[in-house]
């Protein structure tokens, strides 16, 4: 709201309008509090220039930044039973789904795409934290199975970019079943010695870490990402002690030997390119020309 919107009469407002001026030109960095211009932030892949804070970015931004020449095609997410438990908390699960679908424009908490990374055929499955906290539901699990099947069929490297609080409670036990199901999917890559690279972003916890996210042939995390099985609040409530600072941050996990590396998002494409080339070089299923 500014003086114009208050002052200008409705008819004129239609002409002056706020047409192509985006709502939030500036956003506040949740790392250092600096105001960041949205285009700068976007160009910088969501990383704060001042403090290096890695903000959450969408699957599409991931695809654009990781696939060669930003060229890729989406793989359809498979259909699953909607709301198998007829779940309702303070809201109906079906309503929550509707809201999240219209908010994000996608049907599930994960999006799949295929293209090339460093000239090698690759599938990227990217979880969307904005969609019900990225939670692992039946649709998410089935998508990961789909992605693995696509990789086996078409000889592609699999990259999963995890971002989720954990399993989707609203699907009850059927969401827990996605743990073995996604592990089976990852395991199926072995038959063709297809590499699976897991990228853990902020946050990756619960059933997601207890399944595919921690099973990468190569595990990479983004700086400052919260990664763990139990969330800090649950741990604090259980042991009733103050938790050591940042003990579930990616840098600490690296120290504890749980990850291969923690790298800056802006260097991710280059690193992935090198890894994928090195690791597939002796595999005839991959074309290196």
């Amino acid at each position: 709201m500014n003086w114009l919107t208050n002052f200008v009469k409705p008819k004129i407002r239609a002409i002056v309008g706020k047409k192509d001026v985006p709502e939030n030109l500036w956003s506040k960095c949740n790392g250092c509090g600096e105001m960041l211009f949205h285009r700068d932030l976007k160009d910088n892949l969501g990383v704060c220039n001042q403090c290096n804070q890695h903000h959450k970015i969408s699957p599409v931004e991931r695809f654009d930044s990781l696939f060669d020449n930003s060229e890729y095609e989406l793989i359809e997410t498979p259909k699953v039973i909607s709301d198998p438990l007829k779940f309702r908390d303070t809201k109906k699960y079906t309503d929550r789904l509707k809201e999240n679908r219209s908010k994000t424009g996608s049907t599930e908490s994960i999006i799949l795409a295929h293209g090339k990374v460093n000239k090698i055929k690759t599938v990227i499955a990217s979880q969307n934290f904005s969609f019900m906290g990225g939670s692992l539901g039946m649709g998410t699990g089935e998508s990961i199975i789909n992605a693995a099947n696509y990789c086996v069929k078409n000889n592609c490297v699999l990259i999963i970019i995890a971002a989720a609080g954990g399993a989707r409670m609203q699907e009850g036990i059927l969401s827990l079943m996605q743990l073995p199901r996604t592990i089976i999917a990852i395991d199926s890559l072995k038959q063709k010695k297809i590499p699976y690279i897991s990228i853990l972003t902020d946050p990756t916890t619960g059933g997601v870490t207890a399944s595919y996210a921690m099973l990468g042939d190569i595990s990479i995390a983004e700086p400052g990402a919260l990664i763990g099985f139990a969330g800090p609040r649950v741990i604090e409530n259980t042991i009733r002690e103050k938790l050591p600072e940042n003990f579930q941050q990616s840098e600490k996990l690296l120290q504890n030997g749980m990850l291969d590396m923690v790298i800056d998002r802006r260097e991710l494409k280059e690193t992935l390119g090198k890894i994928i080339k090195l690791i597939t070089i002796n595999n005839k299923n991959f074309d290196h020309t």
Partner: protein, 318 residues
């Protein structure tokens, strides 16, 4: 531990009366004899009625009842020559998730299970059945042993979940669970999982990816505890009853959702009333399932297991 659940109180009252009457019967009171047999019948029908109408939340309480048989009770009940095996060979020994080898109805088997303990002392020793990463790594190790020596594996699930602690996280709780599930999936011999009390979240799933999954009638199996679910979705842990209802965590629900293959009926009044009966009944069902799996070398138990889990929740051609 003599714990009385809220909804069992009418029974306890009747049982108290019965005890008094029995005294009179012993002293030769013939009227008391008639009364006591009437009362016995009444207790029986009341118990049946109460247990017929258990709400999901009440089932949670029964599933957690300390008097319920635990892993070691089952071992003592139907395993001969049990040899416990310890350690994950990389960090330590977990007392909450234990295992070994033994003889089950003529089969040499590997046994793995959560042990909660039965009184304050043993419950503390067992960390209330909540395992650390070394427990899951030991379970993986024992499954490798089963692969190598061609032994079927029996798992017994009874845990609120994996232990949420600082050290557990530092040593890779999530990775240990994921690898343990992977070990279950890739096991070349038959795997029969029995959910005998609480099947809580990933910590339970780690042992539950069996060719056959059996569940005791009043056990529960859930992605999150009702308390946890209530505090996240309702933002109020007092709403656990509603969460228990919404989560669909009873054995009946599991059969309907095709998540378990077989439910073992419990004695009226729950497993804690007649532990030995439950122990025998479970043994019978495990034996049946093991025979049905027709254990032989080189059969594709791993492939069957994968197919089974991939089919769960999937839309079949309509």
């Amino acid at each position: 531990m003599n714990i009385i659940l809220e909804f069992e109180k009418p029974i306890v009252e009747l049982e108290g009366k019965l005890k008094e009457l029995k005294h009179l019967v012993n002293s030769g009171d013939s009227k008391a004899r008639i009364e006591s047999s009437k009362l016995e019948k009444k207790i029986d029908t009341t118990l049946k009625e109460i247990y017929k109408k258990l709400t999901p939340w009440e089932k949670v309480l029964v599933a957690r009842h300390p008097g319920r048989p635990h892993f070691l009770d089952y071992i003592n009940g139907f395993i001969e020559d049990y040899i416990p095996l310890s350690g994950d060979r990389s960090f330590g020994e977990d007392t909450a998730l234990i295992g070994g080898i033994g003889l089950f109805r003529g089969f040499s088997v590997v046994l793995i299970g959560n042990e909660k303990g039965h009184d304050t002392k043993t419950r503390l020793e067992r960390n209330f059945g909540m395992a650390h990463p070394e427990g899951y790594r030991k379970a993986s190790r024992l499954m490798n042993l089963a692969n190598k020596f061609n032994l079927p594996v029996l798992t017994f699930v009874d845990t609120a979940g994996a232990y949420p602690g600082v050290e557990a996280e530092q040593r890779g709780q999530a990775e240990a669970i994921a690898r343990c599930i992977e070990s279950c999936i890739n096991l070349k011999t038959p795997l029969i999982s029995s959910i005998v009390g609480e099947g809580g979240s990933g910590g339970a799933m780690a042992l539950a990816a069996g060719n056959k999954v059996i569940m005791l009638e009043h056990s529960i199996y859930s992605v999150i505890s009702p308390e946890g679910c209530a505090s996240i979705l309702w933002r109020n842990s007092e709403r656990s009853k509603d969460a228990a209802e919404a989560l669909k965590l009873t054995s009946k629900d599991m059969l309907e959702l095709n998540v378990v293959d077989k439910v073992v009926r419990e004695p009226v009044g729950g497993a804690h009333r007649k532990p030995s009966e439950v122990i025998n009944d479970l043994a019978t069902v495990i034996e049946e399932q093991l025979i049905e799996l027709n254990f032989a070398e080189n059969k594709s138990y791993s492939d069957d297991r994968k197919e089974k889990f991939l089919a769960i929740g999937r839309i079949t051609n309509q």
